[in-house]
């Protein structure tokens, strides 16, 4: 029997329309918008001024504090302006706008594509380099990678789990990456294992990607300590806690981090970015983005420079289909609708999903009938219907007692609810309020 997590979970229609589309490199845009807060943590501090010339890989914003990440220019050209502009979060944030002029790279970056397997750097040098080159988790949460690799004293990592689950419907960015750069992923994984000082790494892939499982299993034979585990198709298996439960069969205590049970999880895209950073000295300046949707004539995967406006990607697939109602940044389950198509692709953009009217509309919600489906599907074992009521009535104390903070916002409850209740909206509301109360208490 295939491994999976035990509590809850759903199986939404997979719709991996772009799984067969080879990753294309998107032509350089005329202008990029690079926001300074693309990661979890403090926004980076801007290092350039209007009129400055930058090259590909020039550092343009420096990390502030430990939980933060450097940001590098993804193009060469002139800084046009620094302004507050909309980004994928739906708010106006500070961003650096660069006019593209040619494609000049920093000399330190190795632009060749030859595979380099020998790891020359020591553990601390690896973490240092990852931090310098602005690598963040590419699964979507964009947690700075160097923070995850710095294990707090008193704890030891036993296992590295590479998250190649890609449980979100529609998205295929990681899938294509695995098929096209398996060796780079393996070297990246080895580097991460060295950084953590672990002997064992497991790559978890869902069974709906048999070609990727075959490819990586074959490649893994060449590398020591790395194995591939096929997993049952179930959402949200790509969530850290669920993946650890599925592969390692350990449960993380409420409010604790994976290191508590000796596991560290990194996304497969991050492993690739780490390879490029350590072996090629290349900062995180581009990523793979899936552009897909039911009405899209040619669902595709693109290698995109960070900061490219979403509009460019849509133009490249032949513009928006006529029946478009919503454009989502990310997948259909956890993604967030964009309010503007001029927002840039950031480090966390794994896909651009174009939804038609039928799929995008949210139905009027009615009273809860206590069917308990949300409780059945909740992967964290919570009671979403109850937490929503707490949110509606602003009963923050009760919400905290019922572990609202453990919610991973996967949206399984809202997806399943036959009354179309906006469960997650209210739970998130509860989380933000309870979080505030807890911070004030400290």
């Amino acid at each position: 029997m295939l491994k999976t997590f035990k509590v809850g979970g759903i199986h939404p229609p997979e719709n991996k329309l772009s799984a067969g589309a080879v990753v294309e490199t998107l032509p350089l845009p005329e202008m990029v918008i690079i926001p300074v807060s693309q990661h979890i943590g403090a926004p980076a501090q801007i290092m350039v001024q209007k009129g400055d010339a930058v090259k590909v890989g020039t550092i343009i914003a420096k990390q502030t504090g430990f939980v933060s990440a450097n940001i590098h220019s993804s193009v060469s050209g002139i800084v046009q302006k620094i302004e507050e502009t909309f980004d994928t979060s739906g708010y106006r944030r500070k961003a650096i706008v660069i006019n593209v002029d040619g494609d000049q790279w920093e000399d330190s970056i190795d632009q060749t594509t030859t595979l380099k397997t020998d790891i020359e750097l020591s553990t601390s040098e690896i973490i240092q380099r990852i931090s310098e080159l602005g690598i963040v988790g590419l699964g979507g949460a964009t947690f700075p990678t160097h923070v995850k690799l710095s294990i707090p004293s008193g704890k030891t990592a036993e296992i590295l789990i590479i998250n190649a689950v890609e449980c979100e419907p529609y998205l295929t960015a990681d899938h294509r990456l695995m098929l096209e750069s398996p060796d780079e992923i393996m070297v990246g994984t080895t580097i991460l294992m060295n950084a953590l000082g672990v002997k064992k790494a497991v790559i978890g892939i869902e069974k709906n990607k048999p070609d990727a499982i075959a490819k990586l299993t074959e490649t893994a034979k060449k590398y020591q300590g790395i194995s591939v585990v096929p997993l049952k198709v179930k959402y949200p298996q790509g969530a850290e806690k669920q993946l650890i439960k599925a592969i390692f069969d350990r449960e993380i205590p409420s409010g604790k981090l994976p290191i508590e049970v000796g596991a560290v999880v990194q996304n497969v895209g991050t492993a690739f970015a780490v390879y490029e950073a350590i072996q090629k000295n290349k900062p995180l300046i581009e990523r793979i983005v899936t552009v897909t949707g039911k009405s899209v004539s040619k669902p595709s995967n693109f290698k995109v420079r960070i900061g490219t406006p979403v509009q460019k990607l849509i133009d490249h697939i032949g513009g928006l289909p006529k029946d478009t109602a919503k454009v989502v940044n990310g997948g259909p389950m956890m993604g967030k609708a964009l309010r503007d198509l001029n927002v840039p692709v950031t480090k966390g953009t794994s896909g651009i999903l174009i939804l038609n009217k039928k799929l995008a509309s949210r139905k009027e919600y009615v009273t809860c009938i206590r069917c308990g489906r949300c409780v059945t599907v909740c992967p964290m074992g919570l009671e979403p219907f109850l937490l929503m009521t707490h949110g509606e009535l602003q009963m923050w104390g009760d919400a905290e007692k019922n572990h609202v903070m453990d919610c991973i916002e996967c949206g399984s409850c809202s997806f399943t609810c036959p009354a179309h209740r906006p469960l997650l909206d209210y739970i998130r509301h509860g989380k933000s309020n309870v979080g505030k109360i807890m911070r004030n208490r400290k």
């Binding site: 739906g90 708010y91 967030k336 309010r339 906006p422 998130r428 509301h429 933000s432």
Partner: protein, 290 residues
Amino acid sequence: MSLIVLLSIITLCVIGVIAAVVLFYAAKKFKVYEDPRIDEVEALLPAANCGGCGFPGCRGFAEALVKADHISDMLCPVGGNETMKAIATVLGQDVKETVPMIAVVRCNGSTENRPKTSIFQGAKNCSIAHSLYIGETDCSYGCLGYGECVEACKFDAMYMDEKTGLPVIIEENCVACGACVKACPRSIIEMRKKGPKSRRIYVSCVSCDKGAIAKKACDVACIACGKCVKACPHDAITIENNLAYIDFNKCKLCRKCVDVCPTHAIVELNFPPKKITEDKETTSSIIENI
């Protein structure tokens, strides 16, 4: 037969006496002294239990009033000066005369002034929308229009105007309890001095965006041009974070700022219609020039 009746009566009486003695001593031993003035004060309070005073309900406030050494800085916003005076006589203390306040909605971004540029399909709740993105319009500071303030109001002093999509305060009903101020996630509602004859002047905008962005999002946004600051003879207006603010304690209600505001972001309430028409204004300025 009669003996049984007699016996049971006697037994009951004995039990009654014992119970009475126990209860008597228990009442003495466990007596909790409660200031009788608390009840008196509570009777004077409006029994709205709105929490506007900052205490849990009217009883809580009454207890606090009786305990307090000075009640001069405590106020029941619902009862106002009269209630506080009555309470002061009961407690034998002095109270300060407080200026009546009223809630003011500092956003004029009606559907006409501030066009919608996106549709929000999530739960229709201001806090939720606010935590997700800047809202259906381009203004990240203005009213979201889902009426969380109206829900919070316990005095039927607010309603949502369907035409403008903004909350409206019914002046007769507003008791300045401050529930709406706390409910608004964007801090648009402010407690301001009610003013003589309910006349008030305020900047009906809270946008801290730069002028160009603010104006693009909303026709009546404050663009922080500073004209009102120059026009004000009483130094009541300050500009901070691209936003003008009128200090209601300094404002003398001369209305000079209202006239000069190029975006009509400054609003006057309950004033009689202006006598000076535009023509006369020009004539007066001509006279001045001469």
